[in-house]
């Protein structure tokens, strides 16, 4: 049969062409660049983000001896978790001295914590800036899942100092990296001032929906909540039909919101559109928002109006008063509204923990909502008020469909990868590629040297240009197919992955030599029990076993070290599969064809 009609060869050629098109992507420009490949940090640069884990570790000595099942410890842990709205881990229990070491996933001061534990015992010591290795690993894993859910991007995470984590993210803009890392994913839902739902109540997060509305594109993230959560919802929503269920994400309870006093005059008093911030309560120091003409809610974040250019003494003393309970400050506005002196003053008061939130293109209400972490405020329908409703939706509206979809997916991602510890971004920088054009030149030089070396060995061994050329061509196809497959699954190509490609090519040449030797032996030796095809079949036993063992060895790499070697393993497994399923069978056919032709020629001439 003609080579051109052989299905294995047709498959190899067509897939190679397809892979080449995938890597080249000529529809995006005709210059020869590898557009389909996402390159790693070494080759394309990326972001380096340092975050601080804001935990508090404390040692408490219990007044009473522990009971056998340590119920009092568990009770204290739950009490702290409820009061501080944070995760609390028990690190160590010493029954002899009745001391318990706990780690709280947020910054707490001594007075507050001392008060909270006084029913259980005495607060012996409190330390900030120390993070247990379990928490460090947990946060690193959660954030890695957020930034790189498939593990194909090749993100590296490493602990730095006692409470810092350093992330290196290839081919991602620092801003995007920041939004993915920054959010804690702490969900809270209130009816009036009662907390009815928390992140831990979420059982399932369904797929997001985006639909077009009059105000733009509305997204919905549907959730299923636990039976406990549903019961609390039923109790709190009894007789509250028409009231809002206010959902917050990462409500900045530890922050004071500072805004320009002039903003109060710009608040619209009535809608639609709703929800709308209509008022500010001087007594509560909170904004008030309405969801329709009759119902509204207070935004549960303390906010303070000041003179942005020259804050008065009264302003300063109020801020100082708040500083006792708040550890940071969010400023609604930027340095065009607030004078440098004001910002410096705030910086000094809050130990440089001041975050600016410019209005940008947002409506005033949306801006304030964002500052308070308010996500959505759906109206409680008559039909569900007082009932154990388990399906809840978080909604939001954005001006474009793409923006709404992106935000909804981000929200879903953040909610499903909730952090147990509060984090703060220390720095975000862009790292330019380490290996620039010099590296590209070196790779070319290395590839050239390698091809020459392989060609020399093959020629010395077989003294047959046709075989040498055939092996090299097949090797080229295998390279293109492997890189194409890696590009298709969006695997970032960094140093480790290049190593994987080298492995694939190396084993590729190996297997072709095994097949060739097997066929040649049949030709040279007189004893020939099977035909060429049979010999190729026998070579495949060796090849399949070798491939199987390589895949087995690579498989474990998928799970090591924050996925540091995942890329290498994926590329190698892909390459070995391609080799066994596509290139080897085709090579077998071609070599079979060449030798059969030669035998026929020798036969006819002899």
């Amino acid at each position: 049969m003609s080579l051109y009609r052989n299905s294995r060869i047709v498959l190899l050629v067509s897939l190679t062409l397809l892979a080449l098109l995938g890597i080249w992507q000529p529809w995006r420009g005709l210059s020869f660049e590898f557009r389909g490949i996402t390159t790693g940090l070494d080759l394309a640069g990326g972001s380096r983000v340092v975050i601080r884990l804001e935990t508090t570790q404390a040692i408490i000595r219990f007044a009473q001896p522990f009971d056998e099942r340590l119920n009092s410890v568990k009770e204290m842990r739950d009490h702290l978790a409820d009061a501080l709205l944070s995760d609390v881990k028990v690190l160590d229990v010493n029954t002899g001295t009745r001391e318990v070491k706990v780690e709280i996933g947020t910054a707490v001061n001594e007075t507050v914590l001392g008060g909270l534990v006084e029913n259980f015992g005495e607060l012996l010591s409190i330390s900030k800036g120390a993070v247990s290795s379990a928490t460090m690993d947990e946060v690193a894993t959660t954030l890695l899942n957020r930034i790189d859910p498939t593990g194909l991007l090749g993100v590296q995470a490493r602990p730095a100092g006692t409470d810092l984590l350093l992330f290196e993210i290839p081919a991602m803009e620092p801003e995007k990296a920041k939004t993915l890392i920054e959010k804690e994913g702490k969900l809270e839902a209130f009816i009036e001032n009662t907390l009815v739902l928390r992140g831990v109540d979420i059982e399932i997060i369904y797929s997001v929906r985006v639909s077009s509305t009059q105000r733009g594109y509305q997204y919905e993230v549907p959730l299923r909540i636990s039976a406990d959560g549903a019961r609390r919802f039923a109790e709190s929503s009894q007789g509250k039909a028409g009231y809002p269920l206010v959902i917050y994400l990462d409500r900045p309870v530890d922050a004071l919101l500072v805004f320009d006093r002039g903003l109060l005059g710009r608040l619209t008093k009535a809608g639609p559109p709703y929800p709308l911030v209509t008022d500010y309560s001087e007594g509560r120091r909170q904004f008030y928002a309405k969801i329709d003409e009759t119902h509204g809610f207070y935004l549960l974040v303390h906010a303070l109006p000041i003179d942005p250019r020259n804050p008065g003494e009264n302003d300063i003393s109020l801020i100082q008063e708040f500083r006792k309970t708040k550890s940071r400050c969010i400023v609604l506005g930027d340095n065009s509204i607030f004078s440098p002196q004001t910002l410096e003053l705030l910086d000094n008061l809050f130990d440089n923990r001041v975050e600016l939130l410019p209005q940008g293109t947002m409506e005033i209400s949306d801006w304030i909502f964002k500052g308070c972490g308010m996500q959505s405020a759906p109206r409680i329908m008559e039909s569900i008020a007082g009932k154990e409703e388990r399906e809840v939706e978080i909604t939001g509206t954005r001006s474009t469909e793409a923006e709404a979809t992106r935000e909804a997916n981000e929200l879903r991602n953040v909610l499903s990868q909730r952090l147990t510890t509060k984090t703060a971004i220390v720095s975000t920088t862009f790292i330019p590629p380490r290996l620039g054009s010099e590296f590209a030149r070196e790779i070319k030089r290395a590839a050239f040297a390698a091809v020459i070396a392989i060609m020399a060995v093959l020629f010395v061994r077989y003294r047959d240009p046709a075989i040498t050329l055939l092996i090299l061509t097949t090797m080229g196809c295998e390279l293109i197919l492997t890189v194409g497959a890696a590009a298709a699954i969006r695997q970032t190509m960094g140093m480790a992955e290049i190593g994987g490609v080298l492995a694939v090519i190396g084993t590729g040449v190996e297997h072709q030599i095994i097949i060739t030797d097997e066929v040649l032996k049949g030709r040279i030796q007189e004893y020939r029990p099977r035909g060429i095809r049979g010999r190729i079949g026998r070579a495949f036993l060796t090849i399949l076993t070798a491939a199987l063992t390589t895949v087995a060895a690579m498989f474990m790499l998928l799970f090591i070290g924050f996925g540091a070697m995942k890329g290498f393993a994926i590329v190698t497994i892909l390459g070995v599969l391609i080799a066994v399923l596509i290139t080897r069978p085709a090579y077998g056919e071609i070599i079979n064809y060449i030798f059969r032709r030669r035998l026929e020629k020798a036969g006819s001439s002899g």
């Binding site: 380096r48 290795s133 590296q156 995470a157 490493r158 602990p159 730095a160 100092g161 810092l164 350093l166 801003e175 920088t429 862009f430 790292i431 330019p432 380490r434 290996l435 070196e442 790779i443 030089r445 290395a446 040297a449 390698a450 020459i452 070396a453 392989i454 060995v457 093959l458 140093m495 480790a496 190593g499 080298l502 492995a503 190396g506 040449v509 190996e510 030599i513 095994i514 030797d517 032996k521 004893y527 036993l541 060796t542 076993t545 070798a546 199987l548 063992t549 390589t550 087995a552 060895a553 690579m554 498989f555 474990m556 790499l557 090591i560 070290g561 924050f562 540091a564 070697m565 190698t572």
Partner: protein
């Protein structure tokens, strides 16, 4: 025949114990000295050179940019534990301030493959060896093929010894090299086992000789390629990867064709006697 690979392995063991395996930035603890808000782009090459001269340790400096302000920054990573010695720290900071760099933040950092992951890596290698062994048992149904696993581990040992000798640090690149070696080592041993255990034409010695011809071509192709890469490329990552493979593949020639082949031949001759007695 059997002794030479074992003697080589013993030598390499000695080198590893005496010299120790250097660790790269990715695998060791170290210090990150970070500067922010620089107006001018710092001269990375000369800073790296001066620091390396002073510390005698691995140093990597990178220019960063702050997306918000557009100003430059400089991140210097080194395996030296700068923060542990105040005098040294002051010396380094003085050197860096001569480049116009002031007010750094100094962070100690831990390896990317830290703590629990080191344990995982060891577990991983054990599980991988077990998986390879099971695959071989499944295909050949002979316990003697399990010898492949220690043979391949000997390849790795020699490669690590070579790294100690040439002061090649354990980095992501050299780890990739070690893993590649695992694959190559298994391949040649599988080739040998197939010829000796699964074929029946000719004497076992002839079959080993035939397998050896193919096996040598295979290993030589890769070995020469890696040698070419090692000689022509100055990039540290590729250099580390190829160094590991050059040592490992050379050892693989000995381990597969002298050690494992001798044992398999002995096994095959034992089996043959058994058939004859029947």
């Amino acid at each position: 025949m059997v002794l030479s690979p074992l003697a080589l392995a013993a030598c390499m063991c000695l080198f590893i114990l005496l010299l120790g395996l250097p660790m790269s930035l990715e695998f060791s603890s170290g210090t990150l000295i970070s500067y922010q808000g620089l107006e001018n782009k710092p001269d990375v090459a000369s800073i790296e050179r001066s620091l390396r001269g002073m510390l005698q340790k691995e140093v990597k400096a990178e220019v960063t940019t702050d997306p918000a302000t557009g100003k430059f920054g400089l991140d210097i990573q080194t395996t030296a534990l700068v923060y542990e010695n105040e005098e040294k720290e002051n010396q380094i900071l003085a050197l860096l301030s001569s480049f116009g760099l002031e007010n750094p933040s100094i962070l100690p950092y831990e390896p990317a493959l830290g703590r629990i992951y080191k344990r995982q890596a060891v577990e991983g290698i054990l599980i991988a060896s077990l998986a390879i062994g099971l695959c071989l048992l499944f295909v050949y149904r002979r316990k003697v093929t399990l010898l492949t696993v220690p043979c391949v581990l000997l390849d790795l040992l020699v490669a690590v010894g070579g790294m100690c000798l040439t002061r090649t640090p354990l980095s992501l690149a050299s780890l990739a090299g070690l893993l590649l070696l695992l694959g190559y080592g298994v391949d040649t041993n599988v080739l040998l086992a197939t010829y000796v255990l699964k074929r029946f034409e000719g004497e076992p010695e002839e079959r080993v000789a035939s397998a050896m011809k193919t096996g040598f071509t295979i290993t030589l192709t890769t070995l020469l390629t890696m040698l070419a890469v090692n000689l022509f490329v100055t990039n540290p990552s590729l250099d580390q990867l190829s160094t590991v493979l050059v040592f490992g593949l050379a050892a693989d020639l000995l381990n597969t064709w002298f050690l494992n082949a001798s044992i398999l031949l002995w096994h095959a001759s034992k089996k043959r006697m058994y058939y004859v007695s029947l």
